[in-house]
Amino acid sequence: MAGRDDPVDLYRAVALHRAAATRLKSLRDQGRVPAATRCGLGYEAVSAGAARALRIAEDGTGDAVAPTPDNPGAFFVFGGTPLELFRRHLARDSAPGRGREPGMCAADFERGLVGPAALPGTMVEVMAGITLAFRLRAQDRVGLVFSGEDETSTSAWHEGINFAAAQRCPLIVVVQAGTEASIGAHTRVRDFGQKAAGYGVASASVDGGDVLAVHQAVLTAAERARSGKGTTLVEARGCPVLRRVHRAAGTGGGGHADEEPPDPVARFRARLVAERIARASDIDEVERGARAEVRAACEKALGEPSPAEERALGGVYDGDPGVPPWYRLEPPERGLAPASTTLPEAGL
């Protein structure tokens, strides 16, 4: 069995991802989080496999990762908790970010968690800068950013990876691509690893449903990065394609449109059992533990309050306490000049 990680720990990460994604999906089906919420089902292998190839620390000395909403496994590996995840998705007052933003991942630079994403591609630029800082300070740290395959079409993705390449930033860009058949007519590319040469960076192409293959590819890329050799593009093929699947259907790929990539969790489990690395009962135990943790976190978050509405104010600038509009004051201060935006002296 390849890879340097402990397979059962790796399975634990995969199982936690699956449990959280499953729970999130039922919240979505119940209308408790928006219908557009991405849960990350099917992204277990690439999420956990990649993240566990990095060095984790909680004191700002470890590696850094920027997960997409499809990568809760990576979020957990870097110390994010199911409770934080549900608090954010449910926009609780207790959530990191206090409900101001949707999505799973708040930035926590001590833990190496970067996010959440703005528009697609942006985090490649931001992670280029974070890993530039690692290099400029001669720190032994690397960064990893997850992206989708159509995200590679964005200007931000392009300028980000190109900048990282030029500056030999210790960055790993993981492109989560669909199967050949599922990728739509919106691109002529079928092999996203081939983009690497155009930027002068290294590349690897692996099965995104194979946790150990992803793990090994990222380990190799991280070693390269640590030894000063710069950026690597890792293509993880066979990830689930969501809406974009319809495109393929529209352009003749119809027969494959509904193709479901094989379940990466079941695959890993079967392999662990087949290679006698773990017993089915142990794995069941791991899964039960993950589900219990997730259930408890979700219940707790569901019971917590939303932020008070005035919390919309403030924090736009350094030291900005937030000033309510004059017409919301009780009673409105008649005769007084209506205040426009006021900034604190501190911020001036």
Binding site: R98, E101, L119, S153, T154, R247, Y327, T341
Partner: protein
Amino acid sequence: MTSNSRPEHLGKTLRGEPVTLLEAISEALFEEMERDSSVFLMGEDIGVYGGAFKVTRGFLDHFGAERVIDTPISEAGFTGAAAGAAHMGLRPVVEMQFMDFISPAYDVITNYLATSRYRGSGSVPVVVRGPVGGGNRGGPFHSQNVEMAFFHTPGLKIVYPSTSYDAKGLMKAAIRDDDPVIFEEHKSLYRAPHLREVLPSEDYVVPLGKARRARAGADATIVTYGAMVHASLQAAAALEKDDGVGIEVLDLRTLLPMDDAAIAESVKKTGRLLIVHEDTRTGGIAGEIAMRVNEQAFEWLDAPILRVTAIDSPVPYAGGLEDYFLPRVSDIITTCRYLVEY
């Protein structure tokens, strides 16, 4: 590959049935594509999927993949390509899946599309359309109003309808216009039941650059547009009922060019002006309106020009936060009272 009959769901007006604002826009696109073979569509997931809000549902089957083009996530790329196609005599309508995503195309729109005619490189009849606005728990990147990103750029036109009738007529006018037009569609109005309306079955346009008096009144003027037209009308009705005060509500419909004359005329009548916009405060369109009214009707002002707007922050996600962020009917009422009593 393409079928000839009009899809069922796009035939409501023909059948004399009421349509939503979203359906009015779909009908406008459909009819313009039928009328003029140079009109075609580009955008993300607009084909088989029919668009994130289903504005182009059924278009791919009817018009084929050459006129309903699914694009990569490349707002700059396909908007720039639209300019090129427009140079060759086509009339592209590009969809931003959410208008927030127009920002990567900011460069090409402001530097290329907007300046091409002036620079002698030819007209660029491109419509850039898509959903805008808050109140839908979309968070900071799926809720923006984008007018002020473009309002400062000479060469662009900006349209923002508030009714189904206007949406259809303005979309047709925008497509037929020879200048680039940014067309904002408020998500909360898309399917709002009270905007269902039976539209004329014959072809019509609503000319760009003309405001609409949504309500007449003598005591104060509200200038507004988009979803805030409805909030303002609600406030005006309440003020009429509770205070016996008559508020005139002007719906700009087109933000650029702006209908100065209509604004000045109303202000000269009422002497009091409130501007309401859903967009954030600092640098919002209220400023330009205040400036023009100063230039053109200062003597008629009996009170300061005031504004009700969103607060100066990104659009927050949590429901309560977003509700606080957005302007409220009660804010409009409070401010109107202040003005009328001034």
